[in-house]
Symmetry: C2
Subunit: 208 residues, 2 copies
C-alpha cells in the first residue's frame, strides 16, 4: 500500500468538527433534496448555477492530496471514508460504537439517496454498510491493519429506507485471518446478513 499518513493535531481535529463536518452535513441535505425535488425549471437552474459557484470557491484555495490518510494519536481517522467519513457527504455517516461484549454497533437513517428498488435500500448500499461494520469488528475498530478477503451478503428481504441498525462481531481468528459476521436490521428484525474473511497484509505480518 502506497498510502502516506499525516498526523492531525487536536486543534485541526477541532476544526474538522467545527467547520468541515457541518459543511458536509449541509451537502448531505442538498444531496437528499436533489434526489427528491420536483421544483420548477427556473429554481433548478438557479440552484445549479449557485452550486457550481460554491464548488469553485471550495477548490480555489488548498485541497487535500489524494492517497493521504489522517491519524490522531496513532489511530486512523478516516475523514473521507465513503461509509464513516465526517467530511464525506456520501457517507450516511455510520458512527460505530464498540459495546462491552466486543460487538460493534451502529444506528443510522438511510434516506432517498440510498435507494435501489422504490422505497427500499439499494442492495449494494446494504453491502457497503456491512463491509464497513465487519471490517470494524475484524480490525477491532480499525486499530489493526486488515484487508477484506471475501464477503458474502445474504438478503433475507428488502430493507426499507428509514431508521436502521447494523451489528458485527469477530466469530473466530486463525493466524492472519479473522472471520467476522454481522447483520442489518429494521424495527421488524434482520433483513440482511453478512460474513467475511479479513486478512492481515504481508507488510503488517513482516513488521511483527
Amino acid at each position: 500500500m502506497d498510502a502516506t499518513f499525516e498526523a492531525l493535531s487536536e486543534a485541526e481535529l477541532d476544526r474538522v468538527a467545527a467547520v468541515y463536518a457541518p459543511l458536509t452535513q449541509a451537502v448531505r441535505g442538498l444531496v437528499d433534496a436533489t434526489v427528491r425535488t420536483r421544483a420548477d425549471d427556473d429554481v433548478i437552474q438557479q440552484a445549479r448555477t449557485t452550486i457550481e459557484a460554491v464548488t469553485r470557491s471550495l477548490l480555489s484555495q488548498r485541497t487535500r492530496s489524494s492517497g493521504v490518510g489522517y491519524r490522531v494519536d496513532g489511530r486512523p481517522l478516516p475523514l473521507s471514508n465513503a461509509a464513516t467519513g465526517p467530511c464525506n457527504p456520501i457517507a450516511p455517516p455510520l458512527v460505530v460504537h464498540r459495546d462491552e461484549d466486543g460487538r460493534y454497533r451502529s444506528e443510522f437513517v438511510l434516506g432517498a439517496a440510498y435507494e435501489g428498488p422504490p422505497g427500499l435500500v439499494h442492495g449494494g448500499v446494504c453491502a457497503l454498510v456491512l463491509d464497513q461494520m465487519l471490517g470494524e469488528a475484524a480490525s477491532e475498530g480499525m486499530t489493526k491493519p486488515l484487508f477484506t478477503g471475501t464477503i458474502t451478503i445474504r438478503y433475507l428481504r428488502g430493507t426499507p429506507l428509514g431508521p436502521l441498525r447494523a451489528e458485527a462481531f469477530i466469530e473466530r481468528s486463525e493466524g492472519v485471518k479473522a472471520f467476522a459476521r454481522g447483520h442489518l436490521s429494521d424495527a421488524s428484525g434482520v433483513a440482511v446478513e453478512a460474513e467475511g474473511v479479513f486478512v492481515k497484509p504481508a507488510w503488517a505480518r513482516e513488521a511483527e
Copy 2:
C-alpha cells in the same frame, strides 16, 4: 413489494435529461469538492450558508413521493438509484451497456468521495458497483423482476481511485434462480470478483 410505478412521458424524460440531470451533476462536483477542500474557515462557512439556502429552495415546491418508481415505455427508469440514478448525486452514475455477446459492461471514474483506505476505492463501494452490475445481467437490463438472494465479493487487491470498468454476465439459470458473475478492473487487470444468486419474487412467479 408495495412500490407503485408512475409512467413518465417522453416530455418529462426530456426534462429530466435537460434540467434534473445537470443539477445532479453539479451536486456531484460539490460532493467531490467537499471531500477535497481545505479552504479557509470563512470560505467554508459561506459555502455552508449558501448550500442550506439552495436546499430550502429545492424543497419549497413539489417533491417526489417516497416509494414511487418511474417507467418509460414499460421499462423501469431508476431516477434515484444509488448506483445508476441520473438524479442521484451519490451514483457515480454507472451507465450500463449490453454487448452483443450478452455481457453487461460499464466504464466510469470513482473519485475521492468513494474512498475507503487512502487512495483506494472503499470495499463496500466495489460491492455496490458489482451488486448493480450482476443485478443488471441477471435481470437482463432490469427488464425482469429479480431480487438479490446472495452475493459474494472476492477482493484480489486494492482498487485504486480513478478510471475503472465493470463487467457481468449470467452464468446459468435454474428455475426461479439466475446465477451471475462479474468483476471490477483497472488498467492493471481484475481487482475484485463477484458471484451472485438472483431470485424471481413470488408475485412475479404467480403472474406468469
